[in-house]
């Protein structure tokens, strides 16, 4: 029979030992805690906001019934609507008329960012009948009804520029003005990422918004419906349904899925881009931290060998001893993981989600902790616990008498070892000592190299991403966009207006249009830019250098060629969307574009086709700073504005990269410090012996620091190319097919990261070396006995 009272007493003693051991080795346990905490903190925090973005949109799209198919035609009349409804899998169809209206007297409103009056306030007006698809989410005001007069306005725009329910707006559409009262403030699921056009990049919510009105508000005689949205029963068959609609219903110009919707795709891309690179990062954090913690726990248990042997010899059950040692790693990693998840969610998760949602219109959003985060945290705890268990079990398997002795180093004798050579003996004492030590403690050396190299790689990658994004912006705005001003022509720009612009600002234009092409039996849609900009919109080659395109065929961006398996010399069968003229054209070359993967050609080539060139952009380097409005042009964009827009869009990424940099640096410091402590504590006995033999503090310090500096330098040398490789991997493979740029890390980043890591290694070791002075020879040697 077990004496339970005795068992409890034994446990109490063991618990006291746990507490005292933790206190005695507090530096090591604090670093273990910090490593697990930082890894989980970054992993959970980044996931909380990335997954929060994805999950929030999923719920929003479902609740507000985001359209499944988007159709365009000249007019969706009743007959066409009925035809679509009859198609299998179509649940519902709604049609709408979308047209931009300018707000008269918009200067009375103030731009929330610039704090200046808004000269041109444009509102995309959607005239609808029913609202079962892309349902408005009512933030304030009245519910939508076809019978109601007034407009339901974009909530973000209203909030930013101070429009309230009950205010009246005077709108102008193609010269006709009308007044509408704001009767509701809304958010709509197909307007989550809402920009003027693709050149705008960044949602401003200050000079452009959207509104929904009943079709009854539009003059009856002019009512047409060029757009229709479709809701399907079975989403898995949506592709088939789209094709059926296109084939069976006459006059359909385009039929596109959610993926081709600017709002849906823009938001998804933002969530997934960050998801991929932060996934790579947080995965690395976890991996490096686990590696370091596992090494530490394994070495800690080994150090406790004689104590384990003593406990066993005293008759304490193996399971109890194992449990005691397992508890060290278990409780610390559980506590660190829980705190990591909670604080990661609260700090990184909430902060970044709030920052994102300033730009994306989703009414309800929340950070989300997906099961993977818990699984990773549990995985970390299990790995640490398991390694501690196995290390402990290995010792406990030995007879108690054997376990009571210090472990015999597993060193193999080699007859012709380099340490016996004359040249070796000529080396300095510390060099000889450390060469021997490194060669004979390969596992410990390898763990240190991997730990330091991993951290340096993280730092290089984080800074490298920052550099590469900056280099991408300077490629786009320093090389490709070789103009100062870009005029975006309005759809109703007349020939006279166009001619006048050309004569005033130069004949430097381009047209971008959608084309459909056949690729390995599949029909794909991509843009085609017809470039007649005379070098103001440059086309760049593989090494980012501008070149002049030939007039004999199509160019295709390198990334698109890789994704679609297209080569120079291939013939592409294609047509412009809306035109029935199909062409078979040779691909005559590749170009590279960091953010648009598409076709390019010259106007001279385009003129050989049966198509009419209709420029949509005019580029100029003339000074337009004093010109506010140009007839026929929607907007006048400066290169600086475009660049600022791009940088604003990247600001989120920059912020996240800064968080990654900070976590990488802290983790690096903690891991290097931990390795230093481990290295010191394992050599303390040897240093005590050297001290007894008469070695001076400086000589021992030199021995200690030299080895760690060698390891540090070696790890840094490995880490620099690894960091470059990792950055390249992230940009080339992980950030989606629409981007094409590689790692462009500045030499100063390499130098800075290498120097920074070296300084940390040096400082940490200098700090720890002070302990050599404090080694008490007597108790150190006795302790080892």
């Amino acid at each position: 029979m077990r004496d339970w009272k005795l068992e409890v007493r034994k446990m109490n003693v063991l618990n006291k030992k746990i507490g005292r051991d933790i206190f005695k080795n507090k530096s090591q346990f604090i670093t273990i805690f910090l490593m697990v905490f930082l890894a989980v903190f970054a992993f959970a925090g980044i996931h909380a906001y990335m997954d929060g973005m994805k999950e929030s949109s999923k719920i929003y799209y479902k609740n507000q019934n985001l359209q499944d198919i988007w159709l365009t035609a000249e007019n969706f009349d009743e007959e066409k609507l009925e035809e679509i409804k009859k198609i299998d899998n179509v649940k519902n169809v709604e049609r709408l008329l979308t047209i931009n209206a300018s707000v008269i007297d918009s200067e009375r409103f103030t731009n929330a960012e610039t704090k200046k009056p808004i000269p041109d306030l444009l509102i995309e007006c959607n005239f609808i009948e029913t609202n079962e698809i892309n349902k408005m989410y009512l933030v304030e005001g009245e519910k939508y009804s076809k019978e109601k007069q007034g407009l339901w306005l974009d909530y973000y725009l209203a909030k930013n520029i101070g429009i309230k329910v009950g205010d009246e707006l005077e709108l102008s559409i193609e010269g006709s003005s009308f007044k509408e009262k704001v009767i509701g403030l809304v958010e709509v699921p197909d307007h989550v990422y809402f920009i003027k056009d693709e050149s705008a990049i960044f949602p401003s919510h200050n000079d452009y918004g959207f509104a929904y009105l009943s079709i009854n508000e539009f003059p009856k005689d002019f009512q047409i419906f060029p757009y229709a949205i479709v809701d399907v029963d079975d989403f898995s068959k949506v592709g088939k349904t789209k094709n059926e609609i296109k084939n069976k219903v006459d006059g359909i110009i385009t039929a596109t899925l959610r993926e081709d919707n600017l709002s849906y795709e823009g938001y998804k891309r933002e969530a997934e881009e960050g998801d991929t690179y932060s996934g790579v990062f947080s995965g690395l954090f976890v991996f490096i931290a686990i590696l370091s913690v596992v090494t530490t726990m394994n070495r800690f248990v080994k150090k406790e060998r004689t104590q384990i042997g003593t406990l066993k010899a005293l008759g304490i059950r193996r399971s109890k001893i194992t449990r005691m040692y397992v508890n060290y790693g278990f409780f610390i990693s559980v506590l660190a993981s829980i705190l990591g998840i909670v604080l990661g969610n609260l700090a990184i998760g909430n902060l970044f989600l709030e920052m994102e949602m300033v730009y994306y219109e989703i009414p309800y959003y929340n950070i989300v902790t997906i099961p993977l985060v818990y699984e990773v945290a549990i995985g970390i705890v299990i790995v640490i616990t398991l390694v501690t268990y196995l290390s402990c079990r290995k010792i406990l398997k030995e007879p108690a008498a054997e376990a009571l002795r210090v472990e015999r180093p597993k060193i193999k004798v080699k007859e012709n070892s380099f340490t016996t050579k004359k040249a070796f003996n000529k080396l300095s004492l510390s060099t000889k000592w450390n060469i021997r030590d490194v060669a004979r403690s390969k596992g410990r050396t390898l763990a240190a190299v991997v730990g330091i190299a991993g951290c340096t790689m993280l730092v290089v990658t984080a800074f490298g991403m920052y550099d590469s994004l900056k280099s991408y912006v300077s490629w786009e705005f320093g090389i490709i966009n070789n103009f100062e001003y870009k005029l975006n022509l309005s759809a109703d720009c007349t020939d006279e207006q166009y001619d006048e612009m050309i004569s005033k600002f130069g004949n430097n234009t381009s047209q971008t249009t959608g084309v459909e092409f056949k690729n390995h039996g599949e029909l794909l849609i991509k843009p085609l830019t017809i470039n007649d900009s005379n070098g103001l919109l440059q086309v760049t080659d593989h090494s980012r250098a501008p070149f002049t395109m030939k007039d004999s065929g199509l160019y295709i961006t390198e990334k698109m060629s890789q994704v679609n398996d297209l080569k120079v010399g291939d013939i592409v069968e294609w047509h412009i969307i809306g035109s029935d003229n199909w062409y078979k054209t040779k691909i005559v070359g590749f170009n590279r574009d960091p953010q648009n993967q598409q076709f390019y050609c010259t106007k001279t080539f385009f003129d050989t086709l049966e198509e009419e060139y209709q420029a949509d952009s005019v580029y100029t380097n003339k000074d337009l700073s004093k010109i506010k409005e140009i007839a026929g042009a929607n907007t006048i964009q400066t290169k600086k504005n475009l660049e600022d827009g791009m940088n604003s869009m990247l600001n989120m990424m920059y912020s996240l990269i800064i968080v990654l940099i900070v976590v990488s640096i802290i983790l690096a410091v903690v891991i290097i410090y931990n390795l230093g402590i481990l290295s010191f504590s394992e050599k303390e006995y040897q240093f005590a012996t050297l001290k007894v033999l008469g070695y001076k503090y400086k000589q021992i310090k030199k021995i200690f620091i030299k080895q760690n500096i060698w390891i540090g330098i070696f790890a840094i040398i490995i880490a620099l190319p690894l960091g470059n490789f990792m950055t390249d991997y992230i940009f080339k493979n992980a950030i989606g097919d629409s981007y094409d740029f590689e790692a462009m890390i500045k030499p100063i980043t390499f130098i800075g990261s290498a120097l920074g890591t070296f300084i940390v290694v040096y400082m940490v070791n200098q700090f720890l070396a002070r302990k050599i002075r404090k080694i008490d020879m007597v108790s150190s040697l006795k302790g080892n006995e």
Partner: protein, 236 residues
């Protein structure tokens, strides 16, 4: 006889929390050059503390430790390191040799810090381990490991050989072999080397020239052994 070790009014007090523990209490001791001295006493008597003070591994709370006319209790850390390097060889009960170094390397390690060492080969030959010079400690028996420790100590060619329970972890026969080596070292250099052995084994006292009894931190007696036994004659 020339004095090599002189302890004058030496006390060593350890503070353990609020309490003070007097390991040595106002000790006065003189030891002659070329002698084999055995310091005897029960556990906790202060023998090892005494040895550590003589070896410069510790400093007294009060009093003076004079070695060969030099007051080492006034030395700073660096001077103590020099003193240990040049004058003292240590032998411990559990050998304290470095496990990651071969036998030869364990001896070599002291040659880098001493002005007039004897060759590693000579030291190893002296302890009968020359043929094991490429082995690592884990391939040696306890007695052999202790002999490595002796070789390391004598390679310095020290004035003082301080041994803390050198036979404590060894069987009788091996212990006797070790004591023979210590005597050999004592007799080397025309009998100018001093060997001090701390032990609780009273049988070892029979081979000493001088026996110092320590109890409760005080010298109980100092006895000059007029007829020390030959080492072969003792057994435990």
């Amino acid at each position: 006889m020339e004095k090599v070790v002189e302890l004058k009014n030496v006390s060593k007090v350890y503070k353990i929390g609020e309490n003070e523990f007097k390991a040595l209490d106002n000790i006065n001791l003189s030891l002659n050059k070329g002698e084999m001295v055995v310091i005897l006493g029960p556990s906790g008597a202060g023998k090892s503390t005494l040895l550590n003070l003589i070896g410069g591994m510790d400093t007294p709370t009060s009093g003076n430790v004079i070695i060969d006319g030099e007051n080492i209790s006034k030395y700073n850390e660096n001077s103590l390191s020099d003193y240990r390097a040049e004058n003292v060889g240590f032998i411990f009960q559990f050998y304290n040799i470095l496990p990651s170094l071969t036998v030869k390397e364990n001896v070599d390690i002291v040659r880098d810090i001493v002005k007039n060492p004897i060759s590693t080969e000579e030291a190893l030959k002296g302890v009968g381990l020359l043929e094991h010079s490429k082995k690592f400690p884990n391939q040696l028996s306890g007695g052999e490991q202790q002999r490595v420790s002796i070789a390391r100590a004598i390679a310095k060619n020290p004035k003082l050989l301080l041994c803390d329970e050198p036979t404590g972890a060894l069987d009788s026969n091996t212990g006797i072999e070790v004591l023979k080596l210590l005597r050999k070292q004592c007799d080397a250099n025309f009998g100018s080397n001093t060997v001090i052995i701390v032990t609780h084994n009273s049988l070892i006292a029979d081979i000493a020239d001088t026996v110092v009894h320590v109890k409760n931190g005080k010298i109980e007696s100092i006895i000059a052994n007029q007829n020390p036994k030959r080492i072969e004659e003792i057994k435990w």
